[in-house]
């Protein structure tokens, strides 16, 4: 990887915009851990469906809850679920991809058959299958999405490992008797960290989208602690009476996805 310099980051619009957006979103989430303008679950009969004002910068929902406080909380839920998804998906995917790619042979054949079949299978459906097995809830959602994301990481890592395996210095290391595990983790994986980093960011982007979609369907985190997708499905029927209630969480989802997409694209260009 090239040396990181502030000037270069500013010069690449993708990286700069990505960092800017993610910085804002992360700031909102981190502040949300310690302080929100209102209690995100506190209802108020007298303040239902208010518009944008200084008191409620994103208005209030149909139960009089402050939308901004709920968005702060909801983005945290969405981001944490996405993180869990990536930890499981990228972790398992990297191990499976590295091992099958490195050893090859029958394990590789069988594993790749299954991975390919799963890869072609839409991840939202895969997640729905797993949710229907494990039940509804945010933990189940993390596991489901995590497993659904394994195939794409396994494929990427396997391809990269195959590419690195034939390089001269790996052959040299092998001749010097470096063990297989050490070879995979010390010699090969550090070489593909750039590709992995950009896939992880793209993965985050997809995980946020998938989480939002599944929560929208009602199989994710349960009320009152709603993620952004869930908020949108609650808000949908008030689109006409109070557009801000729908638009605010919606735009935050879009910003999160955009932030990850730009960071991913920026890192890809950096390499």
């Amino acid at each position: 990887m090239k040396k990181i310099s502030f000037k270069k980051i500013i010069k690449d619009p993708y990286l700069a915009i990505g960092i800017l957006i993610m910085g804002l979103v992360l700031l909102m989430i981190i502040v949300g851990f310690f302080w929100t303008p209102y209690d995100p679950t506190k209802m108020s009969a007298s303040e239902k469906l208010q518009g944008i004002s200084l008191r409620h910068i994103m208005g209030t929902d149909n139960m009089g809850r402050d939308v901004f406080s709920r968005v702060m909380y909801g983005s945290r839920v969405t981001l944490l679920i996405a993180m869990g998804t990536i930890i499981i998906g990228a972790g398992l995917g990297t191990i499976i991809g590295a091992v099958t790619g490195y050893y090859g042979g029958v394990i590789d054949e069988v594993a790749m058959r299954i991975i390919d079949a799963l890869f072609a299978f839409p991840s939202i459906l895969l997640a729905l299958v797993i949710v229907s097995v494990f039940g509804v809830g945010w933990m189940q959602l993390v596991v489901s999405l995590g497993i659904a994301f394994v195939p794409s990481f396994a494929r990427i890592v396997r391809g990269e490992v195959l590419r690195c395996k034939d390089m001269d210095y790996i052959q040299n290391a092998r001749l010097q008797g470096v063990g297989s595990l050490r070879m995979i983790f010390v010699h090969i994986l550090p070489n593909i960290k750039g590709v992995l980093a950009s896939s992880i960011l793209i993965g985050f982007n997809n995980a946020v989208l998938a989480e939002a979609g599944l929560s929208y369907l009602g199989v994710g985190s349960q009320p009152p602690y709603a993620s952004l997708g869930r908020m949108l499905s609650d808000a949908q029927q008030y689109m006409f009476t109070r557009p801000s209630y729908v638009m605010c969480p919606g735009i935050v989802i879009v910003l999160m996805v955009l932030g990850f997409a730009f960071l991913g694209e920026g890192i890809k260009r950096w390499e």
Partner: protein, 314 residues
Amino acid sequence: MRYTIKKLFSTFMTLIVVSLCVFLAFNVLPGDPAVRMLGLEASDELIEQTREAMGLNDPLLVRYGRWFIAFLQGDFGTSYSYKVPVAGMLLNKIPITFSLGILAFILTVLISIPMGIVTAKYENGVLDRIITVFNQIIMAIPPFFSGILITFVFGMILKVFTPGGFVSYKDDFVGFIKYLIFPSFAIAFPKISMTVKMLRGNLIDEAGKDYARTAYSRGNNTNGVLYRHVLKNAMIPVITFLGMALADMVAGSIVVEQVFSIPGISRILLTSISNRDYPVVEAIIMGIAIIVIVLNLLVDIIYRLIDPRIRIDD
């Protein structure tokens, strides 16, 4: 011929693997389907009888074989919750979801290919820059959110269609398609952007290759090089992507059906998931799995038709 046999065999193997995974996922679960069907207060004797009748006492593989063969014959089992055959429950829903996915796919192809060509042809021009920025944003909007926005703008403000006013294809086919157009756009938008981005990149890459220079040296103009030489090469990876996108869009219909209150398989799938009505979930998942597998086979065939390099490999 050898290829056809090989391909059909591997397709069949994939079907076996996928169906086995689906079957196992739903059959190694804790909880007794007989109890689920009869309710917790049923007597042990009755449960045992039902287990025997349902064949639940047989070995797992025998049960799988029985289930799979029945499935191929169109018998998807009986719903735990509604006590009616699953096939009948889904019969009217599947065409709706499938039409939605297909319509979204057609829109994707019709819009993204010309747009990909235009952006590549006028690379770094004003139009290209605008479309590229626009694409990045569109890709970040989840279909259910764009669905809500479309409902708001076209349904409530412009009143081009009536939200919730779904018409069945049996009553009025034109009305049916008209209603589905808007949700199809919601599903297609991100795929259109991805396809444009991919095709544009491929076209620019291919146009820089040696054979394109050869084409120019024979007196081709830009359009000649683009349409007679570069496009076909650039489309090869796009076709794989579109095949996967079609499967994704059929699945994506499930979310968007909820936004537009379309009575496809979405509602049934979601209630069955929360009621743990496994035969219904199994049947829907298997149905989509079969669609995905068939699509993969089709993509493979199209691939071989356009790329002569693959033909010789087998």
